[in-house]
Amino acid sequence: MATLNLQNITKSFGAAHVLHGIDLAIKDKEFIVFVGPSGCGKSTLLRIIAGLEAATAGQILIDGVDVSDAAPVDRGISMVFQSYALYPHLSIYENIAFPLRVQSLPETEVKAKVGKAAEILKLTDKLALKPGQLSGGQRQRVAIGRSIVRSPKIFLFDEPLSNLDAALRGDMRVELSQLHRELSATMVYVTHDQIEAMTMAHRIVVLNKGRIEQFGTPMELYHHPATKFVATFIGQPNMNLVQASVLGTTNGLTVEFSGGQRMTLPVDCTTATVGSLVDVGIRPENLMLGDGLSMTVRVVERLGGVAMTYGDMPDGTRICAALPGDTPVAEGAVVGLGLNVADAHVFDASGAVMRRLNAPTLVV
């Protein structure tokens, strides 16, 4: 059992306010990912949970107990660092055994625990080596090994895969998800990579400028982004935003684009006013060739299954469509793009979403 509750955590470095009142309730055995652009405060928040930084105000509760002033080891937390933080002068065995040496456990117990961790992480034949003799992925596993021998209640990961190459990162994502199932522990994972967030998280915390923009499951964030920031941050390539003016608010939101095209979008438009400007968000994968918006094609990237088509609308707005790989579009041509109106997201001038009414209700 390990729940983690953050209550009104704020952090300032002198005059710089990094976190503004973070409230978060993480359930037992959840895999939570903090994601956001650099400087959003995600690493600081993780370091506060770890006990490496003190919060300026607010409480941290683990299993309901206030640990705000406790040392990291007393919080039952372990952490894997971005740089792995392995001790270069110690063998892999001693690196993994380090937390147990600190507790001065008897050698037999150390041996058993290190052996078990090494087995889980497939490092058994590497124990006698030094960190410098291992590959990046193996070093990463040693760092994880050091964090699991202590059987902590909560694991923290600070961008652990960012030093690995793309192929290895894919493998490690799968391994980490598997490890999470095997250990059935609560994990908090920081990354700036939305693919890691989408693939590994039970729930994602999207942070922006020291505030939580949204906290939800990956598909919730994808289908129901709460703000324009979340909408453009989640999804690859980014969501297109096209400005339109509101013509009517009965039976959905009727909008007119600058090219004169009109659409009625099924969103909750009780807050919209006729004549105001909104941003219509359309994911590239929801666009298809057809009637609707017109685009002058600039670049076509054929990835095989998909042809990423980048272009400009008549008013200069950049737009991207993910069309089927064999779509006959040529660079420089003018094509029409259609969409299913149920797929459109609408954001008001403040960036807040008007909830989609006919969105898929996939529960994951």
Binding site: I77, M79, S83, Y87
Partner: protein
Amino acid sequence: MLIDRYSWPQKLALYAAMAVFLTFILLPFLEMFRTSLSPMSHLFHAPYEIWSDKFSFDAYFAMWKKVPLLGRYIWNSIFIASAVTALTMIFVIPAAYAYARLDFPLKNLSLGVFLSVNMFTGAVLLIPLYRVMNTLGLLNTYWSMIVPGVAFLIPTGIWLLRSYLEKIPRELEEAAFMDGASRLYTLRRVVLPLAVPGIMVVGVSVFIGAYAQQYLFAITFNQVAELQPLPAGLNQFIGYQTVEWNQMMAAALTGVLPVMIVFLFLQKYLVAGLTAGAIKE
């Protein structure tokens, strides 16, 4: 690496520059050695002769009779320099770590004050130091040569080691802290083993400093012949009528020899220490 490839005129210029440099450094040693081999009668001989049939190692045997305590002086020199180095390192290591990692009031100011002490040479402070030694009753003991040596070498030692310790990634210490290790445990198990090359460099530079400065403190604070280090002991080759230059040079070379041998063995640490952290591993 391609960047290390030189054309032959460049190589020629490099080697010429090195030759000039080495000549400047080594010529005094060669002259010392030549003098130590010459008989006294030959020393003031004109014209200058680089080599003569009369050269011999006689001075290396005669010097022990001329100055019976010579062995003692050599031992004293090494002992004093080693004691100064050991004591200095005991103070420098924790202090350098504190300056590298901890936050405390007046951190930069206090380090500046320490370093400003080094602006004064020992000679300027001799009289006040003499009074301090006198008050503490340390005159004419080994301590009178060790304590001021330590005091003058601590600031640069802190300065050198601090910059080395700062290069050790902070995350290593944070990882140890996460695992429940105390600062001292982390210092002992993580920081010090990684800082060995840096500690070697600082230790060697402190030792050289201690060796170099002991003459001044020895002739000022110590009158006991048995406690004199070699540089002060060499004075005894200066007689009322003549100076036994050949024996003095022989004694100086003999005294420096053990230190040189140790340095030859430490060389690989020195090179490692001076370049460590310069490249990403």
